[in-house]
Symmetry: C2
Subunit: 434 residues, 2 copies
């Protein structure tokens, strides 16, 4: 058996602790599979005194995290510090620059600096691997980079944020149970139960999913990571009533990150969608993640599993280490970074599809006519319109599904209605996933 792969861990939060536990628990099997032992030799984190429920005394403790990048006895550094810049980025650059392999779960850093890190890793002849950065334990980076590598991919999309999916699933369950809880109430409970962060905005506003989508899109389409070009929308606006209307239409609401090539460029957007019940993403419940890749030969592939948590994320980190131990790794973005193209960002207005629109309106004569006229004047064709009874505050809910048409027209209709005294609050627009 070849020499041990010697690993340094930077960051000892939930995932870091999970990596230590996993390497302990599955040590022999991993050595058989990797062809050599994988051993942690050094660790670093902010607080040495903190009890992490795992014996760290056998590892060398390093106070200055960046020193891991220069340690003579380290072959690979696992970066679990987090944050797009700062210590994580400093460590990543130094690790790669020093000729050591880097494994990271840091989607924010990859979204912002993935390309320059890949260029540096290829120049240094080391691995830059990040399976844990997207969809937690689900091997979707590998699935796209290798499993689907023979295909021109037409779309890649999925449920990339477990917190949002958990909240939407809880809302769904409450609608089925007849209690119909809205977003804010379910979020508060998710926070109390530890399923959502105290500051949940990265999750619920779609930023986290946007980070992940930009990584997937780069690998899928051979384009340079372009996080700034991702339109990110979240789930704050969704009401129990929207979930009920979607169900009545044979759909479920999911926050979908979607990237596709076309119209001379790359379209990337995170947005809640109505997903038809016969689509596999409609059945992804709770905090699971799932990614679909559509290829010109393979058709539709689905990868699904736990998108977060210590165990699944550690599983992905260690899978990367096993690839490194086996010597089975190559360009991080599936092709040399120099071969990635700079794709033009495609505006959403160029897209076509069906849409769901929900208005909260004053209950008075002429409101429906005003909405219908705005749709007509913008050239939007209405497939169905439902008005539900008056609520306690005197407003009623109007839900519309359009025929297929340009998103631009729907946006124009909403623009016509902007500021109308008939509307209570901002209308909600969601595409139907086709």
């Amino acid at each position: 058996m070849a020499e041990t792969l010697r690993v340094a861990l930077a960051g000892l939060g939930t995932v870091g602790g999970g990596v230590v536990k996993l390497l302990d628990a599955n040590r022999d099997l991993i050595a058989r599979r990797a062809g050599r032992a994988i051993e942690v030799v050094a660790v670093s984190a902010r607080d040495r005194a903190k009890n992490r429920g795992v014996d760290l005394s056998r590892f060398r403790w390093v106070d200055d995290t960046w020193a891991l990048a220069a340690a003579d006895d380290v072959d690979a550094v696992v970066e679990l510090i987090g944050g797009a810049d700062g210590p994580a980025l400093t460590l990543a650059r130094a690790t790669i620059g020093g000729g050591r392999h880097l494994v990271t779960a840091n989607k924010a850093m990859l979204a912002h600096h993935g390309l320059t890190l890949a260029v540096a890793a290829e120049a240094s002849g080391v691995a830059l691997k990040f399976e844990a950065a997207v969809a937690g334990g689900v091997p979707v980076i590998k699935g796209l980079r290798e499993g689907a590598a023979a295909n021109v991919l037409t779309r890649v999309y999925g449920i990339l944020n477990g917190t949002c999916n958990f909240i939407l699933s809880e809302m769904e369950a409450s609608v089925s149970a007849g209690t119909g809880r809205d977003f804010a109430e379910v979020l508060a409970e998710a926070q109390a139960r530890g399923f959502a962060e105290a500051d949940p905005s990265f999750d619920i506003d779609g930023v986290d999913a946007a980070h992940k989508l930009s990584i997937l899109a780069s690998i899928a389409f051979g384009t340079q990571p372009a996080f700034a070009a991702v339109e990110a929308h979240g789930i704050r606006q969704i009401l129990a009533a929207d979930i009920a209307e979607a169900a009545a239409l044979g759909h479920r609401i999911r926050l979908i990150g979607l990237a596709e090539e076309g119209a001379g460029g790359l379209f990337q957007r995170v947005h809640p969608h109505l997903v038809p019940l016969d689509h596999p993403l409609a059945h992804v419940a709770g905090s699971l993640n799932a990614v679909v890749a559509e290829g010109n030969y393979v058709g539709r592939l689905l990868f699904q599993g736990a998108g977060a948590g210590a165990g699944p994320t550690a599983s992905a980190v260690v899978a990367d280490l096993i690839d490194i131990a086996r010597g089975e790794w190559g360009p991080p973005y599936a092709m040399p970074a120099a071969a990635l193209t700079a794709a033009a960002a495609v505006d959403s207005g160029a897209r076509r599809g069906r849409a769901y629109l929900r208005f909260t309106v004053a209950d008075r004569v002429g409101v429906l006519a005003e909405i219908a006229a705005a749709m007509r004047d913008a050239g939007v064709s209405i497939a169905s319109l439902i008005q539900r009874g008056t609520s306690a505050d005197g407003t009623v809910l109007v839900a519309i599904v359009t025929h297929e048409g340009p998103e631009r027209s729907v946006a124009a209709a909403l623009e016509r209605l902007r500021g109308s005294a008939s509307l209570a609050g901002t209308p909600l627009w969601m595409p139907l996933l086709a």
Copy 2:
């Protein structure tokens, strides 16, 4: 860019034609991703004159297929001849023995000879790759070998035969539509439409799925492939009434290949199961395939997609070639063949679970009592029992769901009823997937 990977194709049926078309259509993208061009240089098949809808005149035609294994201008041979032995095995051995990489979609050959081929490939320092052999285009071999490599896997199971899943889905649709077509009728139509072979026994009796399961189990558990130890059952006995009863119980019927470690050995079985609606495999419809792997850190992973057809299978074959072109390949069964253990086969009687039992019985006094007594005497606890009205031939259907208990007890109960004059035909037993 490095030198071209030069490929010989043996077998030019649907999949072979698909490989040629795919390499033509996606040529430039594949070269970017693989870091080098992948080119077919030689082909061989039984009938040179046959029109395959693709220009083969640019390739060297070789009459003696085995000669591909010794051609100076060939780096990798793709074996698409089929059959466990004969020309496919001769070619595989000669290719590996001659120091050339082998890619194959031949699950029967791997089920019977995979271990010796892996030993030979490792001795020769060449790749033996077979992503297309299991679940067609779905990268599940890679998912287990690499994606889930950090985990002790507790179970691996899935829908491994598209023909059976298509037939069960069609039966399901007919039950929903109120026409309730039985197996034989749907099979005949599937054959007429080209979704099932003229001799469908390999598919519908579970042999094809058993081949695939033995490959998955070996990679998942680090055990030598043991096809002879797979219990294979098919779907011939399933009636529309079974599907209706399963639906009434909140389940769908799927042919599942399942392997798990425990009781000091490895259990492998292909059998129709009742799958609860909240399990992802219940939503795998038509000819799709899907595999679930359950790991001690990652939890439940799902891989899903097209399990057959020219495009998906070619996608998997070419993904293997890209891995070879990248130099990203290692031991075929995830660890050196010498490290694979010889697992004892575990008998199904040792297993516990809930079961579905369906009896077709004569409509007369005492039949239910006889069945209930047999259950009681064998120690089987009944959770529910439904008897449905008389059919034209005077028989009635009795469907039972048991509480959790040993499979051995259920088998004993059925043994007690064997030969009973009350039963019309053989009872059907199916486990509930837990």
